[in-house]
């Protein structure tokens, strides 16, 4: 029965070194493709990142860059078909989750790694009360009785600062406002005290003012609980205050990874540079907004060489021939650009 909704494809083919490294959660050379009627879309093409306890990694990218699919693969909620893992590893405490049994993997969900989704309205079950959906985890996973589970669930609602938590226990998701719903979603994901929290665009569906509140709450909870957090977003503004490190994704690859200050101060990849330049600035009134020209590549037909080369202002012949690997540049940062050194060393 368990393979009906999620079937995990065990990793095969190249990739995955398999050596333990003491990291909390590592994604290692992950490859995922979507097999559709129109062809095979290579959605993830060797993504490697990691997150440790107490740190926040922001994964930044446009829609279709593969940031959410990576998260779904980590969680084991990739829709199969069409999605298939074709290579790489996802190691939790050094153990490859892609080779675990369904049961082993299920136990990690919620307790080891939990996830917050973008649209809390559709992510919460419309026909059960918010309280039920939180308490359910205490009852099913911790074997608590009804009364104790309810007490713990109310406590969780309190922790995410939902006013009158007790009174709202029996409310349905549609009776909550957008921000409150996302808070409830956070309460639910943190119920089993996970070591890693994946937040997939947690504020995209919200008002700007509410966005800030939710990000503050997430940052606070992350600090208190010393969780590892993977924050997936397409919004550079959201990232700046919260993240420790940033991984920028493009066409299913990490193109740059750096400390948050380094990345803003001196991007080591033309794509990151384009992203930062395209943020509207208040101190440059009257200037035309700069954008990255062109569109992200069709994932069924990724151009040879660097996938960014058709849009890159710095593209050289080499970019059309060789895929630049993600290499160290300077101190504790990496870039997948042939000209990373030049970019970092420019004045």
């Amino acid at each position: 029965m368990s393979d009906i909704l999620v079937s995990e494809q065990s990793a095969s083919g190249p990739g995955g070194s398999g050596r333990p490294s003491g990291r909390l959660l590592e994604v290692d050379d992950l490859r995922v493709e979507f097999r559709t009627r129109d062809g095979v879309a290579k959605v993830i093409n060797g993504v490697t990142y990691h997150v440790d306890a107490g740190e926040t990694l922001a994964v930044l990218g446009e829609s279709g860059s593969g940031k959410s699919v990576t998260a779904q693969t980590i969680m084991g909620i990739l829709d199969t078909p069409p999605g298939f893992v074709t290579g790489g590893q996802v190691r939790f405490h050094g153990k490859d989750m892609l080779r675990m049994s369904d049961e082993e993997r299920r136990r990690i969900r919620g307790e080891g790694i939990a996830m917050i989704f973008q649209d809390a309205l559709s992510a919460l079950n419309p026909v059960f009360t918010v309280g039920f959906q939180i308490a359910e985890q205490f009852r099913v996973r911790r074997g608590m009785g009804r009364a104790e589970a309810k007490k713990r669930a109310i406590d969780m609602l309190d922790q995410v600062k939902i006013p009158n938590a007790k009174g709202r226990f029996n409310n349905y998701p549609h009776q909550f406002s957008g921000g409150m719903r996302q808070r409830a979603m956070i309460a639910m994901s943190l119920a089993l005290d996970p070591e890693v929290l994946i937040a997939d665009e947690p504020t995209t569906a919200l008002d700007v003012t509410v966005q800030a509140q939710i990000m503050d709450l997430l940052a606070e909870l992350q600090r208190e609980r010393q969780m590892g957090m993977i924050l997936i977003t397409h919004d550079l503004g959201v990232v700046a205050d919260v993240a420790d490190r940033i991984a920028v994704m493009y066409a299913g690859r990490i193109v740059e990874e750096a400390d948050v200050y380094d990345l803003y101060a001196k991007p080591a990849h033309p794509y990151t540079m384009g992203l930062i330049e395209s943020i509207p600035r208040l101190d440059e009134k009257g200037q035309q907004l700069r954008t990255i020209k062109g569109l992200p590549p069709n994932l069924m037909n990724i151009p040879p060489g660097c996938p960014f080369n058709p849009r890159c202002p710095m593209a050289q012949p080499v970019c059309r021939e060789t895929i630049p690997p993600l290499l160290q540049v300077g101190n504790a940062r990496a870039s997948a650009c042939h000209f990373a050194e030049e970019l970092v060393n420019r004045v």
Binding site: M1, L5, I108, F117, S122, N125, P126, F128, T129
Partner: protein, 308 residues
């Protein structure tokens, strides 16, 4: 909720009056002399005709007739057949039998239809899915009397697994095959609706959330997925009870069950209009109340539906 219920019940009144009037009017408006052939070979004596005309208010216009009929009905008086038998007696003996048959049919629909729908909805395009799709198409396409006679002949006559007809005690075990026959088309519809509903919802975000919470698959499907997918199925099942009772004529005929279908059929043939109206009026009531029940069940299943 209380106010909603009251409003819905009040809404039933004009619907009830409208439908019953139409039925009354249509049944008594059937052309032909209701007393032809009532007195053997001879023409009925004028005295008899005068008495009967008086008794059923046949000399008055249809509105007065209907009004008188309803007035008696509300006092529990369904009137008498032409042979002076209390119609309420007929209703009391035949309705429980039909209800029993319809409930068996409904149970079979719920178990087989829902079961097949859930299994195939979870695994679309598998062997079972194709088997169910083909067999439901078969059931939908076949008229009830074909399914009935074939099963009666095959199971009852050829193989001797069941008795070809149902005894007057109406044991539950005897009603399984007639119940299946009665519900055969509905079983197929239920299976298909459940299948679509499950298949649609199984990729829903909240199902994904339930998996991400680390719930066992049994619970994800049995609690989170099923509850959402049940809504269209419940509608179908609820409105079906009335349809099953009204549609039992053929099945009751095949398996010789003394139910309302048989009584209505006999009454129509013998032009016992009062009997026809009496039975159908009760049927209308069952329909209306089942519809109301379904609407109330909606709210229990889907809290987004509010009654204000």
């Amino acid at each position: 909720m209380g106010r909603y219920l009251l409003r819905r019940l009040l809404q039933l009144v004009p619907v009830f009056i409208g439908t019953t009037f139409l039925i009354y009017w249509l049944v008594w408006a059937v052309p032909g002399d209701p007393f032809a052939g009532k007195c053997g070979e001879r023409r009925c004596p004028d005295q008899y005709i005068a008495f009967m005309t008086e008794k059923y208010h046949l000399d008055q216009n249809v509105f007065v007739q209907y009004f008188t009929y309803m007035k008696n009905l509300l006092q529990g008086d369904f009137g008498q057949t032409f042979s002076q038998r209390e119609i309420s007696d007929i209703i009391l003996t035949s309705y429980p039998n039909t209800l029993k048959l319809a409930v068996v049919a409904l149970a079979i629909e719920a178990v087989i239809g829902l079961g097949a729908g859930v299994l195939t909805g979870l695994r679309r395009n598998g062997f079972l899915d194709n088997l169910v799709l083909v067999s439901t198409l078969f059931l939908i396409a076949l008229p009830v009397f074909v399914v009935g006679f074939v099963l009666q002949w095959l199971l009852g006559v050829q193989w001797g697994i069941i008795k070809p007809t149902v005894s007057s005690e109406m044991r539950w075990s005897e009603l399984i095959v007639p119940g299946f026959v009665l519900g055969s088309a509905s079983v197929a519809y239920i299976a298909r609706v459940a299948r679509t509903s499950i298949a649609e919802n199984r990729r829903a975000d909240y199902v994904r959330t339930a998996i991400a919470k680390g719930l066992p698959m049994r619970r994800v499907v049995g609690v989170h997925l099923l509850r959402n997918s049940l809504i269209p199925v419940v509608t179908l099942l609820g409105t079906d009870l009335g349809a099953l009772m009204g549609g039992a004529i053929v099945t009751e005929g095949i398996f010789s069950i003394n139910g309302i279908g048989r009584q209505v059929f006999r009454a129509i043939i013998t032009k016992e209009s009062a009997t026809v109206v009496g039975i159908v009026v009760v049927l209308v009531l069952v329909y209306l109340l089942m519809n109301l029940l379904v609407d109330l069940l909606y709210a229990a299943l889907d809290p987004r539906i509010r009654y204000e």
